[in-house]
Assembly symmetry: C2
Homo-oligomer: 425 residues x 2
C-alpha cells in the first residue's frame, strides 16, 4: 500500500491511513494479511525542505540536498508506525539505509537497483506491518539518495516487486483512472482496469495519476497496481473487492475480458496536454542531413521533441520544419537553435505556446482499423483544425489550437462511445 503526501498531511489524516491499513491487514477472515506500507512526506513538507536547501545554497550539492529532503518521509514513516501501534497493530519503520534500498546513478534523481528484504519479510511474517519511507535509498558508498519528485510511487512498486506482493495499492486523491479528465467531461467513466502500456501513454500526455517511471517499473516487474482514493471511507466495501483502477498486463486484461469482468474497448481513454509548444523553422535547405542538424543538438540537450512535420516551402529547394517541445524547454531550445543557425541554415524561428495535444489511447486499436479516421472526422465535423498528427501502436495524437482543447476532448469522448450512461436512462 502506498499513501501520498495529501493522505499523510497531519496526524489526523495519518490516523485515517492507519485505519485503512488495519482493515487491509484484517482483510481475510481469521488470517492476518502481510502488509507493507510506503509513505510520502506530509504535503508541503518536501517543498519546505527544498526551499531551505535553495536558501542555503542556490547551486546545492545534491548529496546534501538528499540528506535534507529525505527527512520528510522518515518523519511520516515513524508517525504511521506509532499510529498503527495505537490501533493495536504491530508495526515498525524500515528506513532506506536499514533494509537497505540500494540505488544507482545521480543524487536527487537516483534509480532503485535492489532492495534487501529478508529482515523486513521476516518481520512481516511475524505479523508486523512494515512501514517504508518512500523516495529514499542509499548509494554504493552509503550516502542518502532520493529518487526525484514523485519517487514514492516508484518506491512502492519496487517494494512490491521485492516482496513479491499480490498487489500494489496506490492511494491518491483521485479514486482511479478515468476515460478522460472528469473536470472536462462530466460523463467520464472510471476504468476498472487499464494495461501498463495504456497507462504509460495516458501519463505521458498529461493524465498524471502515477509517476511514469513507477508504471514502467511495474510493467517490467509484472507488479499488479491498483490506483484508489484514501479519502473515500467506504467501510461497506468488502476488502477483497477492488474499488479503484487495476493496472495490469495485456494478458491479464484479456483474461478479465474473457471472464466478462471487463468490456473490450477500442479506445480506453482520451488525454490532453497543454504543456507543449510549437516551433517552426522557415526556409530550411531541403537536402539530406538538414533535419539531423536540427534535432541532434536538441537531443544532446535532453530536450524531448515530439511531433515533427516538414512542409514544402515557398521556394524550391527549401522547406519549413515544424515540431513540438515541452514549454518548459522552449527558451533553451530557441537559444540552442539560434546558436546552430550556421549549421542548419534556416531563415526565421516562429514559436507558439497556444497549442494542445489531444490523444486517444487504447490497446484495442492494435487490431482495429478505423480508429484514426473516426478521430479526424469527429474533429473536422466540429470545425477543429488538425495542425499535426503523430501515432504509436496504441495512441493517436493530434495538435490543435489550445482554445479548442475541451471541445475536442468532449467530441472524441462521445465519438468513441466512452460517455457514461445517464443514471435516468
Amino acid at each position: 500500500m502506498k499513501f501520498g503526501g495529501t493522505s499523510m498531511a497531519g496526524t489526523e489524516r495519518i490516523r485515517r491511513v492507519a485505519n485503512i491499513v488495519r482493515r487491509q491487514q484484517a482483510a481475510r477472515d481469521g488470517k492476518l494479511q502481510e502488509v507493507a506500507v510506503v509513505v510520502s512526506a506530509m504535503a508541503g513538507e518536501t517543498d519546505r525542505l527544498v526551499n531551505f536547501c535553495r536558501e542555503a545554497n542556490a547551486l546545492y550539492d545534491p548529496a546534501e540536498y538528499d540528506v535534507v529532503v529525505a527527512s520528510g518521509e522518515q518523519v511520516t514513516s515513524g508517525l504511521l508506525a506509532l499510529t498503527l501501534q495505537s490501533l493495536g497493530c504491530k508495526a515498525r519503520s524500515w528506513l532506506g539505509w536499514q533494509m537497505p534500498v540500494r540505488t544507482v546513478e545521480a543524487h536527487a534523481k537516483a534509480r532503485i537497483d535492489s532492495i534487501d528484504t529478508p529482515a523486513m519479510v521476516a518481520s512481516m511474517e511475524a505479523g508486523e506491518i512494515a512501514v517504508v519511507p518512500g523516495f529514499q535509498g542509499i548509494s554504493d558508498n552509503g550516502r542518502v539518495t532520493t529518487l526525484g519528485r514523485g519517487g514514492s510511487d516508484t518506491s512502492a512498486v519496487a517494494v512490491a516487486a521485492a516482496v513479491k506482493a499480490d498487489r500494489c495499492d496506490i492511494y491518491t486523491d483521485v479514486d482511479g483512472v478515468y476515460t478522460t479528465d472528469p473536470r472536462i467531461v462530466a460523463k467520464a467513466r472510471k476504468l476498472k482496469a487499464v494495461t501498463y502500456e495504456e497507462m504509460l501513454e495516458l501519463a505521458s500526455v498529461g493524465a498524471k495519476v502515477l509517476q511514469t517511471r513507477s508504471v514502467g517499473l511495474a510493467m517490467k516487474e509484472g507488479v499488479r497496481v491498483q490506483v484508489l482514493s484514501s479519502f473515500i471511507d467506504d467501510d461497506a466495501t468488502p476488502a477483497d473487492e477492488l474499488p479503484g483502477t487495476l493496472i495490469v498486463s495485456e494478458a491479464e486484461m484479456n483474461e478479465l475480458v474473457e471472464k466478462g469482468e471487463m468490456e473490450r474497448q477500442l479506445v480506453t481513454g482520451i488525454a490532453h496536454d497543454k504543456n507543449e509548444a510549437k516551433v517552426i523553422l522557415t526556409r530550411v535547405p531541403d537536402k539530406p542531413g538538414a533535419v539531423a542538424h536540427i534535432f541532434e543538438p536538441l537531443a544532446a540537450a535532453s530536450i524531448n521533441v515530439d511531433m515533427i512535420i516538414q512542409n514544402v516551402g515557398r521556394d524550391k529547394g527549401e522547406t519549413d520544419v515544424t515540431f513540438t517541445v515541452p514549454q518548459a524547454d522552449l527558451a533553451r531550445a530557441q537559444a540552442l537553435l539560434k546558436d546552430k543557425r550556421g549549421d542548419i541554415g534556416f531563415n526565421r524561428i516562429i514559436t507558439d505556446s497556444r497549442i494542445a495535444k489531444i490523444s486517444v489511447v487504447g490497446v484495442g486499436m492494435k487490431s482495429h482499423a478505423g480508429v484514426a479516421s473516426t478521430m479526424f472526422r469527429a474533429l473536422s465535423d466540429r470545425g477543429i483544425n488538425i495542425q499535426a498528427i503523430s501515432t504509436s501502436e496504441i495512441k493517436i495524437s493530434v495538435m490543435i489550437d489550445e482554445d479548442e482543447t475541451e471541445l475536442a476532448v468532449r467530441v472524441l469522448h462521445t465519438a468513441y462511445g466512452l460517455d457514461a450512461e445517464d443514471e435516468a436512462a
Copy 2:
C-alpha cells in the same frame, strides 16, 4: 564546534554559523584547521516532532519516536554542509548511522558507547569540514536512537573525544559561564575558566549552560570544553584568543594560575535553585533503621533526595525528619511515603515548595578553611535564616526562604569578592 537550536533556527542564522565555522577553519595562517561541527535541530523543531509523536500515540514506542525526532538534526546538518559549500568550504554531513555513533541502553535516552571515526577523520584531513547531527546514534540492531533532550552537547563532547580534538567549543545563547546569574547580580563576572567539578556542581544547582552529562563525559575523557556565544559577531577577536569560558581539569587550571592567566579564587561561583521542595515527616520513631524506611523507597523510585536534617522531636523517642526533593517529584514522593506509612511510622507529612537552595562552589575551598563561616556570617548579618546545610568537597549549600533568593545571592557574591570592578573605578 557545537551549535544549539537557537543558533540553527533558519537559513539566515545557519549562514551566521557557517561564517563562524569558516573563520575557525582558517584560524592559523596558511594551514587550514581540521574542524568537525555538531548541530542541534532548529529551535522549536524537536518540540514540533515530539508533539506529532504524542498525537500519533500517547504511549509512544520510543524506537519509532527516535525515528521521528532524529530527523530535525538530519535537516540542519545537511543545511549547514550546503551553506559551508556556498562559502567555498568543502563540507559533508555524517549521520549517526553513517559513522556510526553506537549507543547503548534505552531508546529516547540512549548513551553513546563508541564512535567510529576513521572515515570522518580521513575526510577532515582532506580539508572537508565534518558536519554531525547531534542527539542521534544507532543501536546494536541498527535502529535509530536519540540521547534525550539536550543530548547534542554530549554528542559534541563524544565526537571531540573520538577525534582527539584540541578543544570542543560549545556555542550557545550566553557568552560563557558567570560567577552567578547576571540577571540577579549586575556585577557578575564572566569566568575565564572553571574546572569540570565546579561546572558539574554549578550545573546541578541550576546554572544550566551545558547538559550535565556532557560535562561528566568531558571530565572522564579529558576533553577541553569552551562555552561561548554564537551571537557576538566579533570579527576583531583573533581566532586563537578564547572569548568564552574554558572548562578544564584541575591540573590545567593550576597551570593557568601559575602562568598568571587566572587568579586563584576561593569561590568560583554562586548558584541558586528554586526547583526543590521541602518535606517534613513529624514524630518518626527514633530508632535504628527508621531513616532507611524513608529513603530506600524514594531511591528505588529514582527520586533524588538532597539535604537531610534530623531534628529532635517534642516527645522522647521520636524525631522530625526534613529533606528536599525536586518539586517535579514532590507529588510522587508524598504518595509513596503515605503508602509506606506503616513501615516508617510518622505522624504527619508537611511540604513546602517555597524554599531555595543557594550554593557556593569552588575548588579553592578544598584547601582553605573559613569558606563556610564566611557564608553563614554574611547571610545572618542580613537576617537570612538558614533552614538546612549540605556540603561536598567543593560546594556548600544552604536552604533558605525562596523570597530571599536574590538577596542571598547578591550578599554572597559581594562577601566572596566576586563583584566586577566598576568601569569608572
